[in-house]
């Protein structure tokens, strides 16, 4: 038989190895000085650990029963409320975020946007040869129409 595994040694020292395995292990230890020495060391450690005894704590039975009784009287939260709890929390978070975004947006953007003077707009468009833009501006469109009308009047004269 090969040497005892550490786990077997611990169980043998603890006296918890079940009979078939125990008799085989004891037979091996009887003829193996190395495993006998290991078992002695394991046994000493096992005994040493037994030195630390712990005094019994207070009897908590009455206190626990009393607290448990009080907890049992508190109506439990219904399962359906527990289930929709996360959904409600998520919905509240969305509404809160939307509200904050709305208020912050109103606060950040000026209520009246000051547009550049039309003349500047037109001059910039002409400088860039953007006739189309000039046409699209209200002033450009009016002048174009008036210009056309002027050309027509000149032709009639």
């Amino acid at each position: 038989m090969s040497h005892l595994r550490e786990a077997e040694l611990v169980e043998l020292a603890a006296g918890r190895l079940e009979p078939p395995a125990r008799s085989a292990a004891e037979a091996h230890v009887g003829g193996c000085a190395e495993c006998r020495a290991r078992l002695d060391a394991a046994h000493r450690a096992w005994q040493a650990l037994g030195s630390w005894e712990v005094t019994a704590g207070h009897d908590l039975a009455d206190a626990i029963v009393e607290v448990a009784g009080r907890q049992a009287q508190v109506p439990a939260v219904p399962a359906w409320r527990r289930a929709i709890g996360p959904v409600l929390r998520a919905a509240a978070a969305v509404v809160l975020a939307a509200g904050i975004g709305h208020v912050a947006g109103r606060w950040a953007v000026p209520s009246r946007v000051s547009l550049p003077p039309v003349a500047d707009e037109r001059a910039a468009a002409e400088a860039l040869s953007l006739d189309v833009l000039a046409l699209q501006s209200a002033a450009g469109l009016a002048e174009t129409v008036l210009g056309l009308d002027g050309s027509a009047q000149e032709a009639q004269q």
């Binding site: 550490e6 786990a7 611990v10 603890a14 918890r16 060391a41 394991a42 000493r44 450690a45 096992w46 005994q47 040493a48 650990l49 037994g50 030195s51 630390w52 005894e53 712990v54 005094t55 019994a56 704590g57 207070h58 009897d59 908590l60 039975a61 009455d62 206190a63 626990i64 029963v65 607290v67 448990a68 009784g69 907890q71 049992a72």
Partner: protein, 181 residues
């Protein structure tokens, strides 16, 4: 199933039916064992008492859902182990002074001072182990749980438990080698 285990199952069925006397009986049966485990894990009597109370309140709340797939004590230890881990994690963030209670002297020791010193050496050696090794060794040595029961109580595999126990005992053999019987 042992007579005590069958008694635990019966008490649990009574607790589920609202019998608070059965809860008290369960507490009286097991508070000593789980309390000493919690004390050895946490090193503080008040913290151990809190764990015991919270564990049995959990037992009470879960009584209707309880199914005896494992021994009651194994299930109880799984609750206690988790509570001790929570307390230990909180204590890491806010370290506390351990109670000066290495335990009473052993019956075989003639000199109480020597016995007290031995107990203190053991406590320090166990306290120096990594948390998983300490948990496994305490459940194995003092609570007499098998590897399988420790695996069920901790959620670790049986092979992991065996490995933790072997490493822990190897360390303890070295640390306590000079202690005389």
């Amino acid at each position: 199933m042992s007579e005590e285990a069958a008694g635990d199952e019966h008490l649990m069925s009574r607790v589920a039916a609202g019998d608070m006397g059965a809860l008290g009986e369960l507490v009286r049966r097991h508070q000593g064992a789980v309390g000493s485990f919690a004390f050895r894990m946490l090193g503080r009597r008040d913290a151990a008492d809190d764990v015991v109370q919270e564990a049995f309140l959990h037992v009470h709340r879960a009584a209707r859902r309880y199914r005896p797939e494992a021994k009651f004590t194994t299930w109880l230890y799984s609750i206690v182990v988790n509570l001790c881990r929570d307390v230990a994690r909180r204590a890491q963030r806010a370290p506390v002074q351990l109670d000066d209670e290495p335990g009473p002297s052993t019956a075989s020791a003639t000199d109480p001072l020597v016995a007290r010193e031995r107990a203190e050496r053991v406590r320090r050696a166990l306290g120096a182990l990594p948390e998983r090794q300490r948990t496994a060794i305490l459940l194995h040595r003092y609570q007499e749980l098998s590897h399988r029961e420790i695996a069920q109580a901790t959620g670790w595999s049986e092979s992991a438990v065996e490995s933790l126990i072997v490493r822990a005992y190897a360390t303890l053999r070295q640390e306590l080698a000079d202690l005389k019987e």
